[in-house]
Amino acid sequence: MQQAANERQDSAAVADGPLMVGGVSLASRLIVGTGKYETYAEMARCLGESGTDCVTVAVRRERLVNAAGENILDHLDASRYTLLPNTAGCYTADEAVRVARLGRELLRDMGSTAADWVKLEVLGDTKTLLPDPVGTLAATERLVADGFSVLVYTSDDPVVARRLKELGAASVMPAGSPIGSGQGILNANNLRICLEYLKDGDPHYPVIVDAGVGTASDVAAAMELGVDGVLLNTAIAQAADPQRMAAAMRAACFAGRQAFLAGRIPRRLYATASSPDEGRVGSRS
């Protein structure tokens, strides 16, 4: 299956450009999180199966006891994956700016060529993990001023999305539904309006659905709307068979993107026959 998908992607008829975001060129339109896997080995297998070339990571205090333990960087091939640090767990703009700067320093220390980008999250509360729009706007403004390429997690509110772009966000990343909820795309119409606003006169501006994916059809549905990519984590990591789900996500992303580029037929209320009406057996003419 995977091999067949690769062959299809190689054919000129279905050629697609890279996802350009924050000064980085990504061959895959899936960005995959590295959290919640049973083991680092399983994480590495799933990332490989997903076809992604960009993975998110969180910034946390180093353990001061048993520091000889494994580090995630020992299991991420830096030549294969571009690391995108997040500010997950931050509830104020101050915290998020601080964590973003630490993430940038970690990337610089690794010699990354994309050290100045960040997946910004400023959360409203622990129950919903919905973004705090006021804090998100404030942090975006500060990080852009500090030279960051800001990929910003936000709700599917088109007005907030537009404000974030106006502040200089490198990518606006509306949630399909709450983080880790697996509810998929709850308000496709809001995403359509986000796309219309964000891509008006700027068709290549990257819009990425971040969060809420439960299964492969959610990825396909998002891509069919015309978003440029999908960021997901839990749907793979917590699936009963994570590696197989990673393969499904890869195929769904490809399918949804190709369907969007191909241009779907309009929905109609009534049927239109696919077989010719003429020459039916037993017809009078």
């Binding site: 959290g35 969180a58 946390r60 995630i72 640090p85 993430g103 320093e105």
Partner: protein
Amino acid sequence: MSGLPGDQRATQTILVNGRARPVPPDGTLAAVLVEAGLDGRPVAIEVDGRVVPRSRFAESSLTGGERIEIVTFVGGG
């Protein structure tokens, strides 16, 4: 940066990831990392809210009372 001689530093403490620790004798972040077993590991350090690049870890800047955060990457979405 530091006006304190080394023997006075020993009586001073710093907060490293929320835990009190003595100021290392040479007052450097490099020594803090060695004591924590994190020498050579992929970490970033913040002192009193400001990021300190690795190139300055060997500077003798700690005098006591500093709040130090040592962070790394972990799995996340």
